[in-house]
Symmetry: D3
């Protein structure tokens, strides 16, 4: 299976926070940075994510902003 | 200056492709992964990006998807 | 493999338009509606999409707007 | 009134979930698929959506991902 | 017709740039700021936009970032 | 510091609503319009936003939709 998103990192789930509608998942990626994803609780439960899981992080290139320090 | 985006990585610009309206910029981030950003040519020129530049990559958490292998 | 996006439709690629940086792909989904995706040419080529291919269409729920007629 | 989003499906609201800040609305579209939209509670209340309402689902093409099975 | 997007400004189209797949439209909104929209050429042509047209600018709240100077 | 987003307005924070995972911030921009941003509580707290603060509103052009009345 291939997905049309140009930004894919791999990492481990380090934290999960559940709200009423939404949830927030933190992932430590290679190099040590923390990436965060916000998704519906329904998505979280369907993925069955738990701390320690290996995941791939995908972001469409149009949603990536660059900042020049 | 602080920006309200939870995903911030640092990297070096490795490739720039210019279209008519849009442009695509590749950035090598810590850990070696390549991130890609698509922005308007106007944004690219305003940022004045060129190969080798240090940039920060910012993504809103709502635009990050997780995939379970 | 599971993906954290709540909107998934299946369909057939009916049209592909290639630009310089971006490309546009039309997909006929069940029920007959046409969905369109814009992605980088790099993504298109990596997916190796061609007319007639079966694809799944995925959209994060935060990117779906509802309009009341 | 015309809206600049290339993906427009029609459907009926089948479920509404209210959180503190956000809400989630499920819509059954032609062909039987379920689409989900996440919006602020304020948007939900301004639209005055309730179960059974006819709505149009709109998604910008840049937010549509294609997956090759 | 009501749209579930919390950010709506009104303005006049001041510039249109056509690419191969995408197009870019500049709009002067109340207060004098310039807003820019990127959409497919197909969307642009379907909307039939031309310079001087009155338009409404809509952005989902999840796509709005705040920066603290 | 420069950010690759073409839509930048300035304004004052007029309202903040905190949920469990997400938060919603209203900003009055020049010309009097209200813009709204949804971000994680973590982002809100990291920005340290409070009512009356001056902020810049940034939106990528791909996330801006135009509507023709």
């Amino acid at each position: 299976m291939k997905i049309g998103a140009r930004n894919r990192l791999e990492g481990d789930v380090t934290e999960i926070k559940r709200g009423t509608v939404m949830s927030q998942v933190k992932v430590r990626v290679a190099g040590g940075a923390i990436m965060e994803s916000v998704m519906t609780l329904d998505s979280l439960d369907e993925l069955g994510l738990k701390i320690g899981d290996k995941v791939r992080v995908a972001v469409k290139a149009v949603n990536v902003m660059l900042i020049k320090p």
